[in-house]
Amino acid sequence: MRLAFVLGEIGSGLRRNLSMVISVILVTFVSLTFVGAAGMLQLQINQMKGYWYDKVQVAIFLCSDGSTAPGCATGPATPEQEDNLRTLLKSPAVAQYVNDFQYESKDDAYKHFKEQFSNSPIVDSVTPDQLPASFRINMKDPEKYEIISETFSSQAGVETVIDQRQLLERLFSAMNAASLVAVSIAGVMIICAILLIATTIRLSAFSRRRETGIMRLVGASKMVIQLPFILEGVIAAVIGAALASGTLWAVARFFLEGVLSKQYPDTAFISPGQTLILVPALIGLGVVLAGISSLLTLRRYLRV
């Protein structure tokens, strides 16, 4: 009975205040879309980092079938060449710059490749033989990349030495800047949303002051009086969060998957499914926003 009563109150409150409720929905929708966009950029950065990015700085790619580099004249790198390189990495001249290194076989490379490009059609056309084996080096000082590069690029069996960090770092810093901008806009919009929810609840409390006054007099509990107002704000915010989640999913599905991943098949993009992990966060944030602003408002405008 009491539940039905509270639900009825919420329904009438939402109907009476429809234009304000719609504006709350839209503001939370926009602000949470920006929050979600920042989240998606971070997910995308993680995706592009792949397996090695946070562990090593420099990769020595060994010759494989079809390598055209001068060091690869004798064909794919032989086990002896690999042993030589391993010895060289352990020699004092090199070891002083190296924290540690790992060997990535063709099969390992294939496995990591499949993980990173799981959302891309390219994964079906690649076989383990096409991927080079490599030594992945964790540098004591990443700035000393030149020394490793000079020492190893002329060795037999080495196709190329790449400082992977440098390649991706500039892209990532651009993406981090973009997500910072998104978070800043989201911050402003969230303030907007909190104030708007507070105003909406205030109006709602004002337009129902007769009812709440009578409820107070006949001894309705604080919860029965306040809950409809709090839930009104929460419902509006959750609808906004759901719209924001839908928008992010649509961006991942139709823009990243539908357009970008076809234009740049060698870049790993996040899948629409991965954006769904943002949904609980966005909805939770919406609920917290609405809850906090309504608690603060009710304390001032709805005396019990």
Binding site: M1, E211, I214, V218, G219, A220, K222, V304
Partner: protein
Amino acid sequence: MIRFENVTKVYDQKARPALDSINLEIDRGEFAFLVGASGSGKSTFLRLVLKEDRASSGAVYVAGQNVANISSWRVPRLRRGIGVVFQDFRLLPQKTVFANVAFAMQVIGKSRSVIRDTVPEVLKTVGLEGKENRLPHELSGGEQQRVAIARAVVNRPGILLADEPTGNLDPTTSMGIMGVLDKINQNGTTVVMATHDDDIVNEMRKRVVELKNGVVIRDEAKALYTSMIPVVGQSRRLRDASGRDEQPQVIPPRAGSRAEARAEFRTAGEGQA
């Protein structure tokens, strides 16, 4: 049922207290009129019983319990034991008579079947059977006040507070309302009624507590609106009487001292208007 021990209520440190060391006891099942000019402290008295305000000093006991010791989350329970009726009815305009009365039961979580049984019974008590589905604006003032009384007593409170319940009604209708209140009182509910309506007080011959400037100046059983014993030298001390929450009512002056008090009150009230 209601006991005031040395209760003082100060709204503004500079002005005189709204209630000044009141000592008063109203027993279970009693019917008491609270009379006095606007600003004499009647409404403050009722607000203190409901714990809408805290007494500045002294203790207010309701049903044996000191209201100052009731924690804020238990105040609703206190208020369930007290019904309140106002001069302006305070009905919900978009709800029917039945829904208005049922509302008081819904919000405290009574079940649908209990509501279906109780509401018609209470409407019968106040003389509104057959009007369950009317909206408030389709009723006369007296009928609207009966709805308000039904709502106040539907949860069977031990105390009924009425703040000038006949203030908006003509004399005949007022007497009908008094009949309803009397009936409720005879069922065992303590009734405290603040009023300006001398005819009613004189007709009913119940206990009369007269307040003036926050002090009880008369407490008589089976009394009249104005005292039989003239009080000398009281009326001139009304200079700073300030009408706080009651509108001054234009009532043709009858007793000499009241007319004077009223004229003085208007002079004092002009600054605020």
